[in-house]
């Protein structure tokens, strides 16, 4: 029964994306409400689908009644259900954040809904070419969103992202082409059956290579990550929150889908070099990403490089192809989305309240914005992987999977990356709470601090949520930071706190993840 909902998961946001530009004919302020209704419907649909997967296993829908291998199949199974849930929840959460944080133009919400539709499409499709199309829809909407504040720098960052992202998608398409020429089908399940037995073929190996490199570019795995720092740091904070939580996540999910469903663990058994190559790729990404994050001073850049490292971890989990490691990869995929989204949202609030953009600017903000700083602390500690949190769960299962698979180097790399993550998170927390209350040297920060000392530090401390700083950016005269949220509301802080609570609560939730994956993995690892 619920299989009829799968096309709606994609169609609702894409159709709703048409409404905001049309409404522009009469009014320009209604885009948010359209997006809110569409995302709420989307969340309800996702909840029904996920529930049905939880109770009865994979849900399939054959579009237009054309059975495989001719038609396109939409599938939600144990691997995609958590991603579908994540997309639905985060798009609602970020929308709540955007109510006050802006941008409030209609065109922004059109791109926003297109992005939700594209992400859902990648998550639910069972057809390789269809996946390419949805990856490109996701890409198009993301490029538009990155440049949403209409500044020059964000346009340059978006163009760089566009060129690299499109190259990645084209490489993916070449890989799909090789697989298609080899087998004559595009359906994932059908492909996996027809590929069996010809794993050693050069065309199949080339197909795997092209697809992995293409998706690696989209996921931003080192050294294919170069678009990400600029795109994340110059995009408006609302946009960074959204895309950091979902876009790379869905691309990494696509890697898992390709490795597990299309090429299957049997491919890795037949061609151990392919597995070793992906694992090496992932390990380098984990270490290089963490190391680069540790030397950054700007908060958004630091968080971006941290993403590079975390996605290396996820891909390592998928490439280990043991049931523990895959469970870890899925948990970390969802967990990272929530943690990184929360951190970027908190960074946006800090920028709007205190004009803080670098680690140095965060000095003693733990006492001026205790709630948001506390949430930053929780996200940071979860990112390091300290229990109880979803970050710990993911890393733990990936490490256990690596040990059980005998891939000791990966276990060592996971441990090292934890240490490096600790080094940059600890630096941030040290600034937040234990920085010496010295005389500010930076004039911009000084102006903010003086204004607050006058405006009442006491008010900030106890009713931080209600008392809004009297627009610290305005101290400098013009609005210097076009990326930061326009204002900070209680709802925005509440959204961040809610994400932090979920991150901790999911730390206790292995059982549902296992229940989801069990049915899916039963088919992959007999």
């Amino acid at each position: 029964m619920t299989d009829g909902l799968l096309p709606l998961l994609v169609a609702v946001p894409v159709l709703a994306a048409v409404a905001p530009p049309l409404l522009c004919l009469r009014t320009t302020g209604t885009g948010w409400y359209v997006a809110a209704v569409a995302c709420a419907v989307e969340a309800a649909l996702a909840a029904l689908v996920v529930r049905s997967v939880f109770l009865g296993g994979a849900v399939r829908h054959v579009v237009g009644g054309y059975e495989r291998p001719y038609g396109i199949e939409l599938v939600v199974d144990g691997l995609s259900a958590p991603v579908v849930a994540l997309v639905a929840v985060v798009s609602l959460g970020v929308l709540a954040f955007a109510y006050t944080a802006g941008p409030r133009r209609n065109s922004f919400y059109s791109a926003y809904l297109l992005l939700v539709g594209g992400l859902m499409g990648v998550s639910v499709t069972g057809d390789l070419f269809n996946m390419f199309v949805f990856l490109e829809i996701t890409g198009l909407a993301t490029y538009a969103l990155v440049a949403a504040d209409r500044s020059g720098r964000s346009a340059v960052a978006a163009l760089k992202y566009l060129i690299l992202g499109t190259t990645g998608a084209s490489l993916f398409l070449i890989g799909v082409g090789y697989a298609f020429v080899e087998t004559g089908t595009l359906n994932m399940v059908d492909l996996s059956e027809r590929l069996a037995g010809s794993y050693g073929d050069r065309a199949v190996l080339a197909s795997f290579g092209f697809i992995l490199v293409g998706l690696g570019l989209k996921t931003a795995v080192f050294p294919l990550h170069t678009w990400q720092p600029d795109a994340y740091s110059y995009a408006p904070d609302t946009v960074t929150t959204f895309i950091s939580a979902l876009v790379s996540t869905v691309a990494a999910y696509a890697v898992g889908r390709i490795v597990l469903t299309v090429f299957t663990p049997a491919f890795f058994e037949a061609v151990p070099a392919a597995r070793a190559a992906v694992l090496a790729f992932a390990a380098v990404s984990i270490l290089a990403g963490s190391a680069l994050a540790a030397v950054q001073t700007e908060i958004k850049r630091m968080l971006t490089y941290s993403s590079v490292s975390q996605f290396g971890l996820v891909i390592a989990g998928f490439a280990l192809v043991t049931s523990d490691a895959v469970l870890g990869a899925v948990v970390h995929l969802v967990g990272h989305g929530l943690m990184k989204g929360g951190l970027f949202a908190a960074a946006g609030v800090m920028a709007a309240r205190h004009g803080a953009r670098t680690v140095g600017d965060y000095a003693r903000l733990g006492y001026r914005s205790p709630v948001v700083a506390g949430a930053v602390g929780i996200f940071g500690v979860a990112l390091v992987g300290i229990p109880p949190s979803v970050g710990f769960l993911g890393k733990w299962y990936i490490a256990v999977g690596a040990v059980r698979a005998g891939a000791w180097p990966i276990a060592v790399v996971v441990f090292l990356s934890t240490l490096l993550t600790l080094s940059y998170v600890a630096r941030l927390l040290e600034r937040l709470y234990f920085a010496e209350p010295t005389e500010p040297t930076d004039p911009a920060v000084g102006a903010g601090t003086d204004a607050d000392a006058g405006a009442g530090t006491g008010a900030d401390a106890d009713s931080e949520v209600g008392a809004r700083d009297p627009d610290p950016v305005a101290d400098g005269g013009a609005r210097a930071d076009s990326r930061a949220p326009a204002a900070v509301s209680t709802g925005m802080v509440a959204a961040i706190v809610a994400a932090a609570v979920v991150v901790v609560a999911l730390g206790f939730a292995t059982a549902p993840f296992e229940a989801f994956l069990e049915r899916f993995l039963g088919g992959v690892f007999p």
């Binding site: 198009l140 346009a155 340059v156 163009l159 070449i174 082409g177 020429v181």
Partner: protein, 120 residues
Amino acid sequence: MIDLLASRWAYVAFVVLMIVGLYMMIASPNLVKKIIGLNVFQSAVFLFFVAAAYVAGGAPAIVPPDGGGGPYVSPLPHVIVLTAIVVGVSLTAVALALVVRIHEEYGTVDEAVLEEVADD
């Protein structure tokens, strides 16, 4: 080698176009030329699909009711190329819109100049 060029020239053209496109994206400092490079790169992919789908003497896959009449050309790769062209055109449109924005802001489409200007 000669044999390869004679029988598989379309695939050789695919590889050459792909490399030319990649090289343009990397080497040209001009943002518009980078986008042209991207288009060349995408065209290479289209050529690959079209070449792979070619059947000597193949007919469009419109099968008469009583069957027979082959060989037919698989319509699927052509549909893929059509879709990919649409995707490529929309990407080019977004890319050019961004270039227009960059030109309005900085007055240049040269990457090297842009880096100098953006550093201020």
